[in-house]
Point group: C2
Chain length 294, copies 2
């Protein structure tokens, strides 16, 4: 299967699972469930679930076991977008061309829909899953919670917010990126490896992949914000610049950013060496992430 | 030990554990960790952790094993207060006489501090704990997440918010209360029983206790909002009325509310019959919850 087909297949698998897993709109409180679904089904690329499935396959696992965790990852991603878009935060009216959650449902409901999605993720992560030992459930919940929390995604968002309009240095930018985006990408592949039954060596290999790929992904996003194609990026071109957000190209230049993204891509691919053929789609995703910014 | 001493002891135990468990203020991002700690140490009565410890003892368990989960419960409670106080929600400037989180740290940070506290709760719940089987960790995480989510606490908050200034009926008020407050009280005692190694019968007994006590707690709070002593209530007297919120006394009268609270207290105490002497403090707490409103 070529990468395009693979991405499509796993994206559709995620959509179908999210549809089944999320509370129905007619369940009380109906407006809350509508608000949750509105943002979950707003056309995401499902890159985190796809990475989780690919990591699961890379250790020879059955992707079915990763479905609830993959959905959980997407719910956490969605909640973070809803809260980031709030008037008190980035104050965005549009996301992927559609009105943001608070524009449609009001600010209070958007806050609560985000809260509920984050909580729903942990409902999913703590589900009983046939063939998944509870110790693995415990461990992946721990990894995902840490990567999403004050030392992970939320922490990255805080420093990003505090840095707006200021001139920051490369270590600070890296602090933001490794946490705000990188942490959840790392958690996705680590979770995939654990749910796939991977051993400690495989977990390590996938972790090294995830660290490099996570940062590469963000550098590529920064590049796309300048030169990119809006459809690929999923947000307005130039929006980082307009907001005075630091980016890799702004700090080290476009050329150097591309070199760095390529190096990280190669590092990510190299880390998968011990996994052999089974990691092929994971390798292709790393290339895809970086190459789309060229 | 009399109840007053018991409450004090378990409250101090919770304070000490929270102090140890929460990320230090000097950890990056420092402002985020300051904001989290500000609200966690704002003088809560720690009633949910105390209920968890008492339920753990009621099945003959070791309370030490319940410490991380008890802290998690308090973090979830704190996050819900921070988000409830936001300008888009209740727009409160003060809580327990101190400026609310967003008044001190700004709205964006308050949203993120709430998010981080909720996430931190799941970091704690998924910790490895000596002597706690991972299957129990999985199960309590599931219970707590469900009780905190869109069909539990957040759902209750949504309906509460949507009902403001409207005239609602008793079933709607009960829907709000059983979810907004009741669900987390139920989760506290259920979690305590499971971490204490209780069997299914004990779990059932404690659950019946939690359902009745949770509603009794809220009716007593509603009564205190009218006749009460501000110190006991932890919020301004008359604040529900001022906001046009439905309460039991407003719907069924003060006298009938007291009768209902007493019935629920008796039901709660009766449910603990199979647990014998070990459930003494849990019984006393149920009485205390209701009797403080007389």
């Amino acid at each position: 299967m070529d990468l395009k087909e693979y991405l499509k297949e796993k994206q559709m698998m995620t959509e179908a699972a999210l549809e089944k897993i999320l509370p129905e709109e007619d369940l009380l409180p109906s407006n809350l469930h509508k608000a949750m679904r509105y943002s979950v089904f707003a056309g995401g690329k499902r890159i985190r679930p796809i990475l989780m499935f690919a990591a699961c396959e890379a250790v020879g696992g059955d992707v079915e076991k990763a479905v609830p965790a993959a959905c959980a990852m997407e719910l956490i991603h969605t909640y973070s977008l809803i809260h980031d878009d709030l008037p008190a935060m980035d104050d965005d009216d549009l996301r992927r061309g559609r009105p943001t959650n608070h524009k449609v449902f009001g600010e209070a409901m958007a806050i609560l829909a985000g809260d509920a999605l984050l909580t729903e993720a942990f409902i999913l992560l703590s589900r009983e899953i046939n063939g998944v030992p509870p110790e693995i459930s415990r461990r992946i919940t721990h990894i995902i919670a840490r990567c999403a929390g004050s030392m992970g995604m939320v922490g990255g968002q805080v420093v990003d917010m505090e840095s707006e309009g200021k001139s920051i240095d490369l270590p600070t930018l890296e602090f933001i990126h490794t946490r705000k985006t990188g942490a959840m990408i790392l958690a996705s592949v680590q979770t995939g490896a654990l749910l796939g039954g991977g051993g400690e060596d495989e977990f390590e290999a996938v972790s090294r992949f995830g660290e490099a790929a996570g940062l590469a992904f963000q550098i590529a996003d920064d590049i796309l914000d300048i030169v990119g194609d809006q459809e690929l990026l999923g947000k307005d071109i130039g929006s980082d610049q307009a907001r005075g957000k630091a980016t890799y190209p702004a700090l080290i230049g476009l050329k150097e950013s591309r070199i760095r993204a390529r190096q990280l891509r190669d590092l990510a691919i190299e880390a998968l060496m011990p996994l052999g053929e089974r990691a092929e789609q994971l390798r292709r995703i790393a290339s895809y992430i970086v190459d789309r910014s060229f």
